[in-house]
Amino acid sequence: MKVLVPVKRVVDYNVKIRVKADRSGVDIANVKMSMNPFDEIACEQAIRLKEAGVATEIVAVSAGEPKAQETLRTALAMGADRAILIESTDELQPLAVAKLLAAVVKKEEPQLVLMGKQAIDDDSNQTGQMLAALLGWPQATFVSRLTVADGRAEAGREVDEGIQTIAVKLPAVLTVDLRLNEPRYASLPNIMKAKKKPLDVVKPADLGVDVAPRLQYVQVEEPSARKAGVK
């Protein structure tokens, strides 16, 4: 079974971001970037499925600027087999990314798409659900427990009331929550080996997808600061 793992390059979760003075956005020049933490968990889960003999091939995919190659190399160093970069310097919003991923899924025909439940930069929590919709596949979101067998996945989902378990027929899109697993670190030899693994680059136009943003970010401002307290 082939597993597709979409990963996103985001500002590192420890960075205290700064809003640009002209309110046009967040200043991400010269800021440490890394793989979205939820995507690391998705990647780890795909690798565990391969180690358990359930998955045969793991394809990592990312959409964004050329530097997203670094994020894909990280996925390869963790254990993904090959990578695809959908290269675009345009702003890519969740609906556009879902369409790009749907095009890749149609080409690659994975049985499972494992991805993060949300990216920590725009905090949308949409792409996985949108991808499942576009493919007409079932979805299991916020997954913190997973078994895959006999053409179906049984997933424990973190919902507001506790844990809900559902079964979905494969192929399916699963979005993962924090508690699914503890992602591994890539070892130095694996980082070296990852440099030789295949990484294909395609453009949105090759996939026939219009990525024009539907939402305009009119302005981005600092949230109002709290008054200093007393100790």
């Binding site: 905090d123 949108m130 499942a132 009331e161 939402l215 307290g229």
Partner: protein, 313 residues
Amino acid sequence: MSVLVVAELDGGAVAKASLAAITAASQLGGDVDLLVMGSGVDGAAAGKVAGVRKVLVADAAHLAHPSAEDAAALLVQLAPAYDHLVAASTSFGKNVMPRAAALLDIAQVSDVIEVLGPDRFKRFIYAGNALATVASTDAKRVLTIRPTAFAPAAAEGGSASVEPVDLPAPSDLSSFVGQEVSQSERPELTSARIVVSGGRGMGSGENFKLLDELADVLGAAVGASRAAVDAGFVPNDFQVGQTGKIVAPDLYVAVGISGAIQHLAGMKDSKVIVAINKDEEAPMFQVADYGLVGDLFKLIPELTQELKRAKSS
């Protein structure tokens, strides 16, 4: 113009988060209709919510625990009559709405905290560290709203008509297996007026009893940081933060929580924040209105005792 709010029910009544979504919907201008779905639901309580024109009831056995597949298909069927589809950003709303949005080819606006007009909204990005004004260029809009940012609509006073809806065929792509619901006598975390939260500093699940006692005196809900959940002190539905629950109570008491960016994202809109921590450099003190530096194992029992005394006198 008209707005459809996907309302969740809580024991027959409209859930508080959905009442907040109704308030947000009414700010868009136009008529507000509700959709309730489930097995054995009648929509009677939903019809009494103030400001609602019509309640659509989707009642069927397969909607007892509606799957995203079924709920989104229903929304797509109802969408032609509406300009906006709105839900609270609960785990249900977050699961269903983007699926419906993609089927309608609409870009969703997630977790709206302010409605500036029918197509303009404010929402937080980067774990609440930046506030974005977003304009939608789509013909229809799909929104999820942050319940703590809107006052709940009055549950009484309305007299909406209640009518059943025709349902699309059930999807056989997914099925409900079971649910483990955390039992609690305390107020629900996201709607509680007072929240007492513990972090890694609590040391063990056993020690959360100290917070339970304090919460009992205050009539508060108990929350936790990710560290406390990951360490197994409390179940995951206690988690407050960017990826857990977003709360904005009148009083938030953070005990043994350092105050990482991801935790602050879930509670920094609380009216009054009290931090109790032995590390006076803890980032939580930067957002706290009142801070107490010291050992929580000494301070919490003392605080509980004082509150008990104040209450009884």
